[in-house]
């Protein structure tokens, strides 16, 4: 992870300055969160803040859940989705942090997730 971050930094001998805008970081975070939570990227709200020189990401997004009739018919569906909403949000934090760090080269210190709703999936298994 850290080696990736260092590889992104340009060599000192080259003149010039590269910057990744807040817009790009936000879009990246939205995509990573959408992927981790199984929703579309437009539904994700991502905000950046500074945490003692590192990046702190806070995300508000809905999460994809199986429909209750399906769960009633087959309680194992919950496990198939990755556990409870709480477990999935906790797991998504690590996934988003690693993904964004890997792609942007910036070091994230923390990811806060607020689940703002549920998208009920009627179709086939997501896994």
């Amino acid at each position: 992870m850290s080696s990736t971050a260092e590889a992104v930094q340009p060599a000192v001998s080259l003149a010039g300055h590269n910057r990744i805008s807040t817009q790009a970081l936000t879009t990246l975070a939205q995509a990573a969160a959408a992927e981790a939570l199984g929703v579309s990227a437009q539904d994700v709200r991502a905000e950046w803040s500074d945490d003692d020189g590192l990046l702190a990401l806070s995300i508000a997004a809905p999460i994809r859940v199986p429909s209750l009739t399906e769960v009633l018919r087959d309680p194992l569906r919950v496990e198939g989705y990755g556990g409870t909403v709480w477990d999935r949000a906790v797991a998504a934090k690590t996934a988003i942090l690693e993904r964004v760090t890997q792609l942007s080269g910036s070091t994230l210190s923390r990811v806060d997730i607020r689940i703002s709703g549920a998208r009920v999936s009627e179709g086939a298994r997501v896994q």
Partner: protein
Amino acid sequence: MSHAQTPHARRSHPDRGHPDTLHAADTADGDTPGAPAPGTSDLGDRIDVGLQRILKRETRSSRAGMAGLAAALVIAACVYALLESALRAIGQPPWLIDPQTAAERLTALPGGTSPLLLGALGGVVAMVGLIFFLNAVLPGRKSRHLLRDPRAGVVVDDEVIASALARAARTAANVTQEQVMVVVSQRLVVVNVRPTSGVPLREERILAAVEDELQRMAPSPMPSVRVNVATSGVIGA
């Protein structure tokens, strides 16, 4: 901003009619420092003496204004004393106060005057005296540095040095212009850097870059460098 000066205007150098700072810095780099100045040594010595004087005048602030003010005050006091003495000598009534009464009242102090007023007056007089005294005694350096050049005296404003050092620090830290602030004083250069969030800065690298730039510039007197990296960063810069 820049301030470079050719002291011997009679010998014209077409290539540096109006040398700006960068140009002067480049030539200071390119020429071998300590190369003998053109012309005979006698002429060179005379130029050197004149050059030293000019450089000193350029790096110290002038005291002509304060000296003139002090002289004017003394002249006004003397003229008034002369006037009163003359009026007394020819037996006319005094204009404001005649000298003898003034001296008597002075010796009778603090008779009748409130000590508060006396103290305030004394404070004001002491303050004015202190201002004059410090103006006379302190070196009064301007915020300028000298650059070495074998042929010309080069005086550079500190803002110019600060801007050059800021560029070096910015390149080393890989941040935007707004994230670097450099303050140059006579003996100290302070480099304040705000990092980009998520990209930790290496302080020693910035320090090395700034010191390297400073060594190549070689201003006199040579300031020391201090780098401050802010704890909070800038997002997306």
